[in-house]
Symmetry: C2
Subunit: 220 residues, 2 copies
């Protein structure tokens, strides 16, 4: 299957890379060690998305809720996010990190990238990365910035992230877990039972095949 | 299967009763005629939810987006909603209708019930009904009412509707279509391929069985 086999390709894909800890347990590792094995799949997917002409992708890094997990897990997923960004900086993407960087759990290494889009290399795809993201923080941000002519949507913290066409979630859970509630209102949601560290290209292809069969009504 | 067979029962269930028009076409009817056949399933489900001790249920009636459909469809789904409410008024539920009742497409017959909970009979279950609902209107409402101490969540139009544990969608689409984005952030989503007018008790039971297998982390 290549790009020309698809009559309709989503413009913006949301990625929920779940199941790292369950994968680690299945492989007789500590839960925390799963996150490291979630980095490489992200770059495999990045290459495939370039090949298929995807314009924008949003990856769920970690949420503020996640930071209440045990300290060694928190350290492990934070490190994985920092490594991922440092690796992406050597590639061709426009990176936008969205998350609450006024909080002490926001990684200091990523402060320079927070809440502003930055071009790496040829900037072939917009990559949004949710780091210490909190859906309440996101929407509430609109209130503080608002002027009377705007609606909240113009002012949410993630207002530079566009509507999401297709969300792919690994790890079998059928829910959004606070993933960009505004951009997800009309998204088609495809769930893959395999854990994220077991990512393979076929997952992406099967999601695209399914996406072709959906209609797009945007609530109409 | 009865209630005692389940170790965990959702407190609040969201119902997306989709597929009325596709059902009508499959039965050689006009699309608009499907909505009428969607009324009775709602009351079958209401009885089953009482039997299983469900405390709260939210039904997707129609959205503001839906009112852009052809006038005969708009009339048909509006009538179906009015009939459903008139029928519920003879039963035992606490009804809360949430929707923009300042708009001309809000049914005048339901104006007396808009945006205030009303007890019918013994009030055995909280039933929320989204009528001319619009997710942007819902969230934006928080802005206009806000005082500095509140977050937006205290002030959204649907603030009297609690967090949803389980969303069941009929008609095969795997998406939320603007259904209460704030209350749905952590909801588990179960999709039934059958169209809503073909509702049967087994659909509900299979959704409850699946719900038992999920974990509830609320993002943690």
């Amino acid at each position: 299957m290549n790009r020309d086999n698809f009559k309709r390709i989503p413009k913006h894909i949301g990625i929920i890379p779940d199941g790292n800890r369950r994968w680690a347990v299945d492989h007789n590792m500590d839960k925390k060690d799963g996150y490291f094995y979630g980095i490489n799949p992200g770059f495999q997917l990045y290459e495939i998305m370039l090949e298929y002409g995807i314009k924008e992708a949003t990856f769920y890094g970690f949420t503020h809720d996640n930071t209440k997990r045990p300290p060694n897990q928190k350290k492990a997923f934070t490190n994985a996010c920092v490594r991922a960004v440092n690796n992406l900086a050597n590639r061709d993407a426009n990176l936008l990190i969205i998350g609450n960087n006024k909080s002490s759990v926001f990684p200091s290494e990523l402060m320079k990238y927070a809440n502003n889009r930055i071009k790496f290399g040829k900037g072939l795809i917009n990559i949004n990365f949710l780091v210490n993201y909190d859906w309440k923080w996101d929407i509430n941000n609109g209130y503080t910035k608002q002027n009377s002519k705007d609606t909240f949507i113009d002012n949410i913290a993630s207002s530079d992230i566009s509507r999401i066409d297709l969300i792919i979630r690994w790890g079998g859970r059928r829910r959004l877990s606070g993933f960009l509630p505004v951009q997800s209102v009309y998204s088609d949601i495809y769930v893959i039972d395999d854990y994220w560290p077991d990512f393979k290209k076929d997952h992406f292809i099967e999601a695209l095949k399914w996406y072709q069969t959906t209609d797009v009504t945007l609530g109409g």
